[in-house]
Amino acid sequence: MHSDESATDHGLAALGFSSGQAGDPADPDTAPGGSSPRASAPRRPAPPKRNLKSRMGTSDIAFRWFTRGGGLLVLALEALVGSFLFFRAYQALHKAGWSFITAQAWNPDGGSFGIAAVLIGTILIAVVAVIVAIPLAMGSALYISEYAPRALKRLLTSVIDLMAAVPSVVFGLWGAFLLQWHIIDLSHWINDWFYWIPAFHVAGVQRGSTQPWANFYTSSTFDAGVVVALMITPIACSITREAFSQAPLGEREGAYALGATRWGMIRSVVLPFGRGAMIGGMMLGLGRALGETIAVALIISPVYAIQPHILQQGTSSISSLIALKYQEETPFGVSALMAAGLALFLLTLVVNLIAAQIVARSRSGAVSEV
């Protein structure tokens, strides 16, 4: 590279592009100050300020308008999605009033419908997912950035990206046909020992009995949450890993020089440095978990009543409500679904905006995260 650059200089000089010829001998920027080394030179009146406004050519103006048009189109599209949701949801919201927030049943044409049950179901599934995903995402991010052999790092990063690209229906099938039947026993075990915690209570199961548990534990919030956790782990992991691997080398070496073990170094340098990204990454995962549709719809059996017991069969979420109900609805029913969609939209929008803020603040400069 270096030899090439000097050669470039020669070439440019041969073409007459050398800086000596091109430069203006009377530098207008230093002249008005008067404190320059050339102060002894006869003073000239301060030259008028140069007009630095650039005048764009036609092609550049056209380019700018073209790209601006593309940007505005995207903006308009996104605004259209949002405003149309508002517009169509208005009819249902207007009719239901506050009962839309408090009612649990979903029977728009019968007059009683509300998102209390589905909203709480959505949030519970997302919370379970985030709680399960936090250790998985943090552990794999720490492993890739701190523990993995250097040769493995790239491969593992790709594997995590691949996991993010696996279609949700594949995760859903796995959860519905394999995981939830194997997790029954774990659910039962948790219920057996921790039934005194309200969330782990399951109605209708006696302690120590050997009933057919499948009727009680399958299709639960917990099952759906675990599957969704696997889907949001790669998102949180890749954001966190990036922040971890950017932790400054000087501080790392400093910690080692002061006698820290590897874990001591991680605790005192890497984790504080990546804290913002950890929180932001998990929030992004939470946003994804709130909106996950197909995997949840495949696993849960819908119940339109508030279900606070996460191990118990039957729960519901806004997105699966839309997926399961859209076809059988009258125009007013679609409006009600739109209102539910609007609630989900606002919820994820708030979560995502907060997450984006945290992630953006935690990182220095732009980094790739596809």
Partner: protein
Amino acid sequence: MSEGHVSEAVQTVTGTTVPQRSTSRRPPRPRELSIIRMGDVVAVLGALGAALATTGLLWTEVAPFTSALGYVIVSWLVFVVYYAVLVSLDENRPTMRDRVAAVVVNSLAAVVLAALVFVIVYTFVRGWDALVHTNFYTQDLASVAPLTPLNQGGVLHAMVGTLIQTGIAMGIAVPLGLVAAVYISQVPGRLAQLIRTVVDAMTAVPDILAGLFIYATLILLVTRQYDGIAASCALAVTAVPIVCRASDVVLRLVPGSLTEASYALGSGQLRTVRYVILPTARSGLATAVILGTARAIGETSPVLLTAGATTYMNYNPVNGPMMSLPLLAYSEVQGGFAQEIARGFGAAAVLLVLVLVLFLVARAIGGRGPGQLSSRQARRRAAGSRHDLARMQRALSASHPGQSPALGVAYGATAPDFPGANS
């Protein structure tokens, strides 16, 4: 914090010792800290054995034996405790914590990896019965009842539908997303910032809302039918923010020195974007587009609300419902018969293969950072430079006949690095 190496050589200047910086500016590499000792391995294995035995005892004697999954989890917890005790016998507290943390981190990473492998392998295992029949790839499901054996009927219609829908969707989303990404990365301003914020926010908005939007606008208000174009639109609505945001990230990675060099040589914004920024970011953009496609191909929920489900082949995206692979997988397994479930998993496996192929292609293209060229690109660029050189020489020798030999020598050396030469 300065990271430069301070070399051993010390130069004395007027009585003061000035450390001389070494000329090599290679980035410092982190130290290799992994030392595996015999005692560590023995401690891990011992703790593992003890944990498995203890949990076995607990499971069979104290609490009734229930599940393999619970057994694994409990023995892992017991293992961590045993390992901590074992290590603390002959190491101090910080070392013990270090070892335990390493074990925990390693096993968490292993769990994630194992889960991914399980998900992929299980899909292929359950779909295997359907996947081994060639008719699975060459027929549709038009004449197939739920209990029809697997040697009749296939998912060809869904494959074709997926390709058509994704093709149209990406045909809409890629140009739109790319142009918007060029705008927000190259024309800074308040509007660009607004678009970036909105796009960022829309990236993670649930994809079912895109389906619901298209269902309530295009289908209920305009076409009044489920069809391929509605599904494509729903997919495009999902994919636009993804493509736009990923491309924006890639475009921002183009080194500022290249852009400024281009402006300094007098080219305008259009030329800079066309000849410097886009070629530099090409591999990253390709990766962004392909990964966006992989996401779009696997989306079920927008398609569920807009495409309608059919069992027959439909090549026409504007007339009648059109099946796609994720939708087929979703709807087949709802039936519950063994053949339907096998078909559903088979469709999911085909979908997974599509995603894997796209992913590998993206990795093959996008392994390099911006500005790093593959050998073929470098050759092409050098050839372009040589072409430019010849052109300049001709022009020069026409006006100044004496100077051409010196120019030839100088440019021959610089040819591969001449900016924007691959036009």
